[in-house]
């Protein structure tokens, strides 16, 4: 059973989605597709874990990566 997540680009950075996909690559098959205003992710082949739980944890990871990157870019030395 596959889980599909849609990350709005105004809220989630595409590079954060890519980073999370790389981190979760060992636990599931992650397909990332960039569309107009969103980045879509398909999470499939989850081994021995609840697919919905993995999808929620994946979304948390994307949000964490996004916040870190936004804060990093907002620092004065990066302005």
């Amino acid at each position: 059973m596959a889980e599909r997540l849609v990350f709005d680009r105004s809220l989630y950075l595409p590079e954060a989605v890519e980073a999370a996909a790389a981190a979760y690559g060992d636990y599931a098959r992650i397909e990332v597709t960039a569309s107009g205003e969103a980045t879509e992710v398909l999470i499939a082949d989850v081994a021995e874990l609840d697919p919905q739980m993995v999808a929620r944890a994946f979304a948390n990871h994307v949000l964490h990566e996004t916040i870190l990157r936004v804060r990093q870019s907002a620092r004065p030395e990066n302005a």
Partner: protein
């Protein structure tokens, strides 16, 4: 904040949208800037699963999913505390923005005060340095000597 009760979810005491193990609320970005929402989300990532969607332009929908089975009251409380944290983050953000110049001034003043004061020996060494012994304007020549030289050059003056 505007409730999402029109989407057929369980009634919430605080006006949030309750589902089986999730609670959702909508935050207006004109009241809660995205930076403040991120700040609150960051604090809640360990406590629950957080997912953001764009409900409509200028409005962020936040869905909080409990990590363990939770009661409707528990979810209500979770969302209520989350929104409170959003307000705290907004206050923190606005305070930081309004006091930026003041904090920069105090930091500069503290750094200046922390700089080591010059020692007496250093000041004396500076006085004895060669640069100060040079006297291109003849300031160190006594006034009488200057006047004597001038009278020799101009005996009628």
């Amino acid at each position: 904040m505007s409730d999402s009760a029109d989407k057929g979810e369980t009634a919430s005491r605080l006006g949030f949208a309750l589902r089986a193990d999730q609670v959702a609320c909508e935050l207006d970005e004109s009241v809660y800037p995205l930076e403040a929402i991120y700040g609150a989300c960051y604090l809640y990532l360990e406590r629950c699963f957080v997912f953001l969607t764009r409900a409509r332009p200028g409005v962020v929908a936040v869905t909080l999913s409990a990590r363990e089975p939770a009661t409707p009251d528990g979810l209500d409380q979770l969302a209520g505390e989350f929104v409170n944290e959003c307000l705290a983050q907004v206050t923190r953000l606005r305070l930081a923005q309004s006091t930026t110049r003041l904090r920069e001034y105090y930091t500069a003043a503290a750094l200046r005060a922390a700089a080591p004061a010059p020692l007496v020996d250093d000041l004396l060494a500076e006085l004895e340095s060669d640069d100060l012994l040079e006297d291109p304007l003849e300031i160190m020549v006594p006034w009488e000597a200057q006047q004597a030289d001038a009278s020799k050059k101009d005996p009628n003056g």
